[in-house]
C-alpha cells in the first residue's frame, strides 16, 4: 500500500487550482499561459504515476506544441473578450451547469473509489511477449507491435488534421507558405538562439526516439522536439516556411503512414497478416517505422503550428 505523500497532495491541489484559474481568467491570453503551466504540472503528476512516457508526451505535445498554437491564437484574438462576455449565459444557467458538472465529478470520483480489486491488467501479457518484439519498453511495444493499427490510424489523424487546416486557406493562397509571426524588435536575440539551439535539440530529439525502444521516449516525443527546432528556426526567419505545394514536404508528411502501409501489406506475404511482423524481424521493422514516423510527426506538427498558408504561391 502506497501512502499519499505531501508532494502528491500539493501537486493535486496546484493542478486543480491552475485549471480553475485557467477557466475563470477574464482574458484569453493569461488563460492560455495558465494552461501551459497546467500541462507542465500535469506531466509531474504523470511522473508520480510512474508513466514517464506519458509525462514526456504531455510536456512536449499537450503543454508545449498545443501551447504554441493557443498562444498564437490568443494573440490574434486579443481584445475580443469584452464583446464575447456579452454572450455569457445567465446566472441561472451557469448555476445549472455547475450542478451538472459537480454531479459528473461525483460520479467519476465514485467510479475511481469503487474500482475492482484486484485491478485488471495487461502488464503480464505485455511483458511475456516483449522478447518476441526485441523491445525493452513495454509502452513502445504496445504502440508499435500489439496495437500497431491504432498508431497507424493516429498518423492518419495527424495528416487529416493538417489537410483540414490547409483547406481553410483562401483560394489565392492555396499552395503557398504559412506565415510564422516574427517578434518585432528582437535585435538578433532570437536569431542567436535559433542558431545555437537546433544542433543540440536535433541530437536530443533523435536520442529520445532512439532510446524509446528500451526506455521512456519515442517517436512522438522526439519528433516534437525536432518540430520545435524547425518552428524556432522558422520563427527567427533563419529558414523559410515551405510552400505547402512542395513535393518534398508532402513526401515527408506521408512518409510515416506510407511506411506503416508498406510494411503492413507486406505482412500478408511474409507473416500472419496485416501489420504482422515476421519472426525475428520485429525490431528492425519497428525501427524503420519509427524513423519514418519521426520525420512525419516533426513535419506535421511544424506545419500544424504554422496554420493555413497565408502567402501567395511563388513559382
Amino acid at each position: 500500500m502506497i501512502v499519499v505523500t505531501a508532494v502528491d497532495i500539493e501537486l493535486a491541489v496546484l493542478v486543480l487550482a491552475v485549471a480553475a484559474w485557467t477557466i475563470a481568467a477574464r482574458q484569453a491570453f493569461p488563460a492560455v499561459v495558465g494552461y501551459v503551466a497546467y500541462g507542465l504540472l500535469l506531466s509531474l503528476v504523470w511522473v508520480r504515476l510512474y508513466a514517464v512516457d506519458v509525462a514526456l508526451t504531455e510536456a512536449a505535445i499537450g503543454s508545449g506544441v498545443t501551447g504554441v498554437v493557443l498562444i498564437g491564437a490568443a494573440t490574434r484574438l486579443r481584445g475580443t473578450e469584452a464583446e464575447a462576455a456579452a454572450e455569457q449565459p445567465r446566472a441561472f444557467l451557469r448555476l445549472a451547469a455547475a450542478a451538472l458538472c459537480v454531479g459528473m465529478t461525483v460520479a467519476l470520483a465514485a467510479a475511481v473509489l469503487l474500482m475492482p480489486d484486484p485491478a485488471p491488467t495487461l502488464a503480464p501479457e505485455a511483458v511475456a511477449h516483449l522478447p518476441s518484439t526485441g523491445l525493452g519498453n513495454a509502452v513502445t511495444a504496445v504502440l508499435l507491435a500489439y496495437r500497431v493499427v491504432d498508431t497507424m490510424f493516429e498518423s492518419v489523424v495527424l495528416l487529416l488534421a493538417l489537410v483540414g487546416v490547409w483547406s481553410l486557406a483562401p483560394d489565392r493562397d492555396w499552395g503557398g507558405a504559412p506565415k510564422f509571426p516574427r517578434p518585432a524588435g528582437q535585435d538578433g536575440v532570437l536569431t542567436f538562439f535559433a542558431q545555437l539551439l537546433p544542433p543540440v535539440g536535433i541530437v536530443v530529439g533523435i536520442h529520445i526516439v532512439w532510446i524509446g525502444a528500451d526506455e521512456p521516449g519515442g517517436k512522438f516525443q522526439g519528433g516534437t522536439i525536432l518540430a520545435a527546432m524547425w518552428i524556432i528556426a522558422m520563427t527567427a526567419g533563419l529558414v523559410d516556411a515551405p510552400q505547402i505545394s512542395r513535393c518534398w514536404l508532402r513526401l515527408v508528411l506521408v512518409a510515416g503512414t506510407a511506411a506503416f502501409l508498406v510494411i503492413g501489406v507486406a505482412g500478408f506475404a511474409w507473416a500472419a497478416g496485416f501489420l504482422a511482423y515476421p519472426e525475428g524481424y520485429a525490431k528492425p521493422l519497428i525501427l524503420v517505422i519509427e524513423a519514418f514516423m519521426t520525420l512525419s510527426v516533426a513535419a506535421t506538427l511544424g506545419m500544424l503550428v504554422g496554420g493555413p498558408p497565408q502567402q501567395e504561391l511563388r513559382r
Binding site: A184, G185, Q186, D187, V189, F192, F193, L197, V200
Partner: protein, 101 residues
C-alpha cells in the same frame, strides 16, 4: 564517504530550493515586470544549478551526470533568451503610446 556525499547533496539541493523560493517570492512581490523577471532568473540560474550540483554525486553514470549538466545549460540558454525577448516586448509596450485597447 557516502554519508559525506549525502550531506553535500542535501545542502546543495536545500540551497537550490532556497533560491527557487526567493525567486518565487520576488515574482509575487516585486513591483514591475523587469524586476520580476530578474527575480526569476536567479531561481533558474543559481537554484537549478545548485539542485543539479546536489544531484551530480547521485547520477548512476558519468553520462547521466553529463545529461544533468546539459539540462542546466539548456534551461539557462532558454531562460536568458525568453527573458530578453519578454523584457524587450515590455519596454516597447511602455514606450509606445497606447493607441488601441
Amino acid at each position: 564517504m557516502s554519508v559525506a556525499l549525502n550531506i553535500f547533496s542535501i545542502i546543495a539541493i536545500a540551497a537550490g530550493v532556497f533560491f527557487f523560493f526567493a525567486g518565487s517570492v520576488g515574482l509575487l512581490r516585486f513591483p514591475d515586470r523587469l524586476t520580476r523577471m530578474h527575480a526569476l532568473t536567479k531561481a533558474d540560474n543559481l537554484g537549478l544549478g545548485l539542485v543539479v550540483l546536489g544531484l551530480l554525486p547521485r547520477a548512476d553514470s558519468p553520462l547521466g551526470a553529463l545529461k544533468l549538466v546539459a539540462v542546466w545549460l539548456l534551461v539557462q540558454l532558454a531562460g536568458a533568451t525568453v527573458t530578453q525577448l519578454m523584457a524587450r516586448a515590455a519596454r516597447r509596450e511602455e514606450s509606445a503610446p497606447r493607441s488601441s485597447p
